[in-house]
């Protein structure tokens, strides 16, 4: 019975084979043509266009402008810069309010409550000075910039601007030996690298897919935008006259994002010339129509789906990290805390890269989520430098209400313009967060490529920071500042 079936089936296939010979090679085209013919026949019968509308002509003109060879990129950079500028300008005040509420008001209340309940000191330290304060800081530092940035980003997406960006980038990616659709996965990465890595499924060729996955980390993700924006407004914005601060720091963030795109292209090119050689496949990209944005939908999806999602992730990771920070700051060996040991040992090495021990330790603690880098940096800085008036004890976050206070704090910790600049570079170029690393492993099923995707950006980041630091010191030394 079983073999009988198989025989029948083989007969069918051989009949198909012989018929195929008779039909010749252009069968596939003929089939597609017949579908197209029927489709156009039906469409002609039922569709009626009352003159080409004025709105249609306007959209064509707009597309010509947005994707033009000369204006495409400048418009893209200007739009991005505008969004960052609004974010930088709009986030400072609410950040201060949140810090005042969560850190200045709620923290002492909680602490008093815990003391009143008779909890032991170490538990109060671990839970309230560690876990709670880290969470409070994540909320105060991250929420306002995200709440301003994401609605604008979603607005650009909803209007249909993202595919135009992809269209502009397409030829660059193809020249780099990568798939044009990588422009889309890269755009996804600007939201979340893990999502960008998954989105690389739209690329069929395994070679080009791997390139897209490995380079996705060069898109600044949600978790890193706030770091960039905050550090840029403190150090870059602080280095120029006040009336230029907003514009210059926004430009610096755009610069970092563009640098990321540059690295994405460069590394794609490098990979496609070495380990991942092969043909570039063609694809078609449709420019979708411009659609009037739906304001409520945008607010909802940017505030709930994006802002709260990222914030929640940050808070979840901040809680254990905050406790870990408190522990490394309060477990003493030989009269010195673990963190102090580490920072003292690593500082000279980190100085070679224009960074410091605090940043290195923060990036180790923050592997689960980039979102908590800044709060961790702040907590560790507060611990290693006892700034008069703001320090509240080892591993306890100080009450810095505004960007200015944060800047003052960091500068007292020995931070310079170089530290800020290199932190921005390192935030762009370092290992992906653990979620993304895990996603890369799930998507590639290869330990080797996961390792490459993890270590390549880290090595690149250290190299770049090293050169920047060395050149900086040469210029400083030679210039006689």
């Amino acid at each position: 019975m079983e073999t009988g079936h198989v025989q029948h089936n083989e007969e069918i296939l051989s009949l198909a084979n012989s018929l195929r010979w008779d039909l010749g090679v252009d069968l596939h085209d003929a089939v597609i043509e017949s579908v197209y013919e029927d489709a156009s026949h039906i469409a002609r019968k039922v569709v009626q266009v009352d003159e080409e509308g004025a709105s249609y002509r306007f959209e064509l003109k707009l597309d010509k402008l947005l994707t033009s060879r000369w204006f495409g990129f400048p418009i893209m950079f200007l739009l991005l810069a505008l969004v960052f500028w609004i974010t930088v300008a709009g986030a400072n005040v609410p950040s201060g309010w949140l810090a005042a509420l969560l850190v200045d008001t709620l923290h002492p209340l909680l602490r008093d409550g815990a003391v009143w309940m008779g909890l032991p000191d170490w538990l109060i330290g671990l839970l309230i000075d560690g876990g709670y304060l880290a969470m409070a800081w994540v909320v105060a530092v991250m929420l306002p910039p995200m709440a301003v940035f994401f609605p604008f980003f979603t607005l650009l997406e909803d209007l249909g601007y993202l595919p135009r960006v992809a269209f502009n980038m397409d030829s660059l990616f193809r020249k780099a030996g990568a798939h044009g659709k990588q422009a889309l996965t890269m755009s996804m990465g600007f939201g979340c690298n893990a999502a960008g890595v998954v989105a690389a499924r739209v690329i069929d060729s395994p070679r080009e897919r791997l390139i897209a996955i490995i380079t996705n980390n060069f898109s600044l993700c949600n978790g890193r935008w706030p770091t960039q924006i905050l550090i840029a407004s403190i150090f870059i914005g602080g280095a120029v006259p006040a009336y230029l601060a907003g514009v210059v720091s926004a430009a610096a963030v755009v610069g970092i994002a563009v640098l990321g795109i540059g690295f994405s292209l460069l590394v794609s090119w490098g990979l496609s010339k070495t380990a991942l050689r092969g043909e570039t496949s063609a694809f078609s990209l449709e420019l979708p129509p411009y659609r009037p944005p739906q304001l409520w939908q945008i607010l909802y999806s940017s505030l709930i789906d994006r802002t709260l999602f990222v914030l929640w992730r940050a808070v979840v990771f901040a809680l254990p990290s905050g406790m870990l920070i408190w522990l490394v700051a309060n477990v003493h060996i030989g009269g010195e805390s673990l963190a102090a040991h580490f920072i003292r040992e690593v500082d000279p090495i980190a100085a070679l890269f224009g960074l410091n021990g605090v940043i290195f330790l923060a990036y180790i603690i923050a592997i689960p989520a980039n979102e908590i880098v800044i709060p961790t940096v702040l907590m560790l800085t507060a611990l290693s430098v006892q700034v008069p008036g703001v320090g509240a004890g080892a591993g306890v976050l100080f009450e810095a209400d505004t960007v200015a206070d944060t800047g003052f704090m960091l500068k007292s910790g020995g931070w310079t313009l170089l530290t800020g600049l290199n932190l921005m570079l390192f935030s762009l170029l370092h290992n992906p967060c653990s979620t993304t690393i895990y996603t890369i492993y799930k998507e590639t099923k290869s330990l080797r490529w996961t390792l490459v995707a993890t270590l390549l950006p880290l090595l690149l980041g250290l190299t770049i920071c090293f050169f920047v630091a060395q050149i900086w010191s040469l210029v400083q030394g030679g210039g006689g500042f």
Binding site: I12, L27, S34, E51, E157, A199, V202, E286, P289, I304
Partner: protein
Amino acid sequence: MNTSPNCENCPVHHRENLVRLGIAMDRVDFVVALAGNPNTGKSTVFNNLTGLRQHTGNWPGKTVTRAEGGFSYGEKRYKVVDLPGTYSLLSTSTDEEVARDFILFGKPDVTVVVVDATRLERNLNLVLQILEITDRAVLCLNLMDEARRHHISIDIRQLSKELGIPVIPTAVRQKEGMDALLMAIAEVATGTYICRPHRVRSRSAKIAHAVERLAARLAASFPGLPNLNWVALRLLEGDQSIIQAVQSGELGNLSAGSQDFPI
């Protein structure tokens, strides 16, 4: 909403009759597939039906994996599968394969094809290919608001007659036409509306003859196969996944008419 139970059981009750089930998809009566070109609003239809919040965005290629959700309407429970957007089911790429395999092997009870009313002709290419595979479909003629803005008018009745399936004009972002869409889905699923799908005609006599011969042979081995001509044509073109389905006898599962194919 304060309505009596009688109201809720009445088919005229429409959207108030819709209960979004989110990801609860146990004991479903019908499976609904959402297919269509990229960026026509499939995910928005999906969200409207299920109450889930699949990320939507104005760019093609956003949905890369299948999303699933459920709703109940008129005492029946439905499972909705949001397929990746594709321009055709002919050439082979992963997303096209996901979409095609689901429509072919997943055997949805209703396939809702979401099309962009402002680009009907190009969208119809996919619709016609889907109608070759399945005969239970609903056309969701979406983005009617944009069509109006661009002074495009479409003869809905004529289009429905040509395609042999219900055609529902919608603007799902504004939740316009969702009532009628739900009704049409229910009618096709329950068999109240019998589709007479358009089958591609503009083929040379030579091809038609070869298809006919192979289809006759297929009918003998796989009685009751709903899309004989399409399978025959794919075999003639040397489609590897269909050849494998013939070799393994998997194609036979389709003719058995069973609902329990693993989805």
